[in-house]
């Protein structure tokens, strides 16, 4: 193999799928072959069967809907606040100097550790779930957006000024469109993190959602259901990631050029 040489698209898809096959095969051999006790790890067939039961008889689809709704809701609120603040911080250095130290500190506060406090403040309803996701994604978003905007090429900024751009139109017409593809990538990445926070939030004090189903299954030692829940999360994550990538490519055709 030559380093850094790209693979053909068809070969890439085949290779990507084959690892899934290998993974499931190892799992099947370990469980169906009797190497691992059923109490600890369910086999793939049982997992699929109980997943079907979960969806058809136990209303798991509603749990999935709740979880997706919470992630999107919390993430959307975080984005709506983080976007303008991040752009302002990236563009105007005094604003950055004011907020940056605090946000750098706040982003290391683990969102999951806030759950007991948030339950105290907001109860165990939806507001608490949204708040966990907000805390988990907001600070990361702001900092990364500010960096993306602040990294605008200085020669483009100078070119804009020599073309008569005012300060405000520099932000509107150069800083924002120039950073937009990177901001979209940041949103895609942080959305992935938001998924881990929602499950943590649902493991404690929730009455619905994928995380809630997983804790319920834990008390029944239903590893098949737990694994099914985990796989569903992974699949939804994968799909949202792909949709995001697709949207980014459609929205910013120029960014993919020459890469």
């Amino acid at each position: 193999m030559k380093p850094l040489t790209p693979v053909a698209p068809a070969a890439r898809v085949t290779l990507g799928i084959s690892f899934f096959v290998v993974f499931i095969a190892i799992w099947a051999v370990a469980t169906l072959g009797g190497f691992v006790s059923k109490t600890f790890l369910a086999d793939p067939i049982t997992m699929v069967k109980s997943g079907y039961t979960l969806l058809t008889e136990m209303g798991f689809a509603k749990d999935i809907g709740m979880t997706v709704g919470r992630v999107l809701g919390g993430f959307l609120i975080a984005t709506l606040v983080a976007l303008p603040l991040g752009v302002m911080m990236g563009a105007y250095k005094p604003i950055e100097a004011f907020f940056e130290p605090f946000i750098s500190f706040a982003r290391y506060l683990p969102a999951s550790a806030f759950i007991p406090l948030l339950i105290l403040w907001a109860g165990i309803g939806e507001a608490q779930k949204l708040a966990v996701i907000f805390i988990g994604s907001f600070f990361q978003l702001v900092l990364m957006i500010a960096v993306a905007v602040g990294n605008t090429r200085r020669d483009l900024v100078e070119a804009a000024y020599t073309l008569g751009a005012s300060d405000s139109s520099l932000v509107r017409r150069v800083l924002i469109p120039g950073a937009a593809p990177e901001i979209a990538e940041i949103l895609r990445m942080v959305l992935g993190w938001a998924w881990t926070y929602v499950i943590v939030a649902e493991l404690i004090g929730a009455s619905s959602g994928i995380g809630h189903m997983i804790t319920d299954s834990q008390s029944l030692l239903a590893t098949d259901q737990i694994i099914f829940g985990i796989i569903v999360i992974g699949l939804i994550g994968l799909i949202s990631d792909m949709l995001f990538k697709l949207a980014n490519r459609k929205l910013f055709p120029w960014a993919a050029l020459g890469k």
């Binding site: 090429r153 020669d155 483009l156 100078e158 070119a159 804009a160 000024y161 020599t162 073309l163 008569g164 751009a165 005012s166 139109s169 017409r173 150069v174 469109p177 120039g178 937009a180 910013f252 055709p253 120029w254 960014a255 050029l257 020459g258």
Partner: protein, 262 residues
């Protein structure tokens, strides 16, 4: 009639704990309407600094630069600039790049398009209006940058080694293109380069700068009439001037090297 007056402009950079570095000594330069002034000098002689001060992108430490009798206090659309690096906005097509300054002036879209199209045609990029910069060669990107600067109808065109990153053949074609446009549009140009051929071929005057700390050492007229055909590069007059400038610049390059090794 002088449109740009540079009087006693100098630039030095403060460095902590050391004496300030003088990049440009007090410099005087008068530029009259329709001048095409090329500025030659070794690397680090402050020629780009001088240009950036005129553009308003850098601030002089002393003296003043005046455009049409008004003190230059910052960048503006009246001084169009073409940079050595490719500075087209990568998210805009060729057409929208050329429209950038026009849109800033809130011209109606139809008028923007009309002006932009005419300059796109002048730089020979008709048919590439909807290309993105990354789809263009270096030469085509610089043509677009030239069209973008000209579309604003600036008083002066400032060019900082705009063809420096291009290969030799492309550069020669770009020189002819720019010269043709200058002859037709009667613009006033300040053009920084370290290529002597380029300086003589295009300039109506050539200014030679000394090694750092830079100052203007020579300011001579190029005694060749316009319009110039590329074949003037093989004439005696061209060769003589080039020989003289080569000597003048060479002395400075050697001085600059000595200074950097000392």
């Amino acid at each position: 009639m002088s449109i740009l007056s540079v009087r006693g402009v100098s630039r030095s950079f403060e460095s902590a704990g050391r004496a300030p570095t003088v990049a440009l000594q007090a410099t005087d330069l008068e530029v009259t309407e329709n001048d095409f002034i090329t500025i030659l000098g070794p690397s680090g002689c402050g020629k780009s600094t001088l240009l950036r001060i005129v553009a308003g992108l850098d601030t002089q430490s002393s003296g003043e630069a005046m455009l049409d009798g008004k003190r230059i206090a910052g960048p503006g659309a009246d001084r169009g600039m073409v940079f050595q690096s490719y500075t087209l906005f990568p998210w805009l097509t060729v057409l929208d790049n050329v429209c950038f300054g026009l849109r800033e002036r809130n011209l109606p879209r139809a008028q923007q398009l009309e002006i932009a199209q005419s300059f796109i045609q002048k730089v020979g990029l008709r048919g590439f209006e909807s290309h993105y910069p990354k789809q263009l060669s270096g030469g085509m990107q610089q043509r677009t940058a030239l069209a973008r600067a000209l579309a604003n109808n600036p008083r002066m065109l400032l060019m900082d080694e705009p063809f420096g990153a291009l290969d030799h053949q492309t550069r020669e074609l770009m020189q002819e293109l720019l010269l043709g446009i200058w002859e037709a549009e009667k613009k006033t140009v300040l053009f920084v380069t370290h290529d002597i051929d380029e300086a003589v071929f295009m300039g109506s005057r050539v200014v030679v700068m000394s090694a750092r700390p830079g100052r203007i050492k020579l300011n001579i007229e190029v005694p060749m009439p316009h319009p110039r055909h590329y074949s003037v590069k093989t004439t005696m007059a061209f060769a003589e001037l080039k020989a003289e400038l080569t000597e003048q610049v060479r002395v400075e390059v050697i001085a600059a090297q000595k200074a950097s090794m000392a």
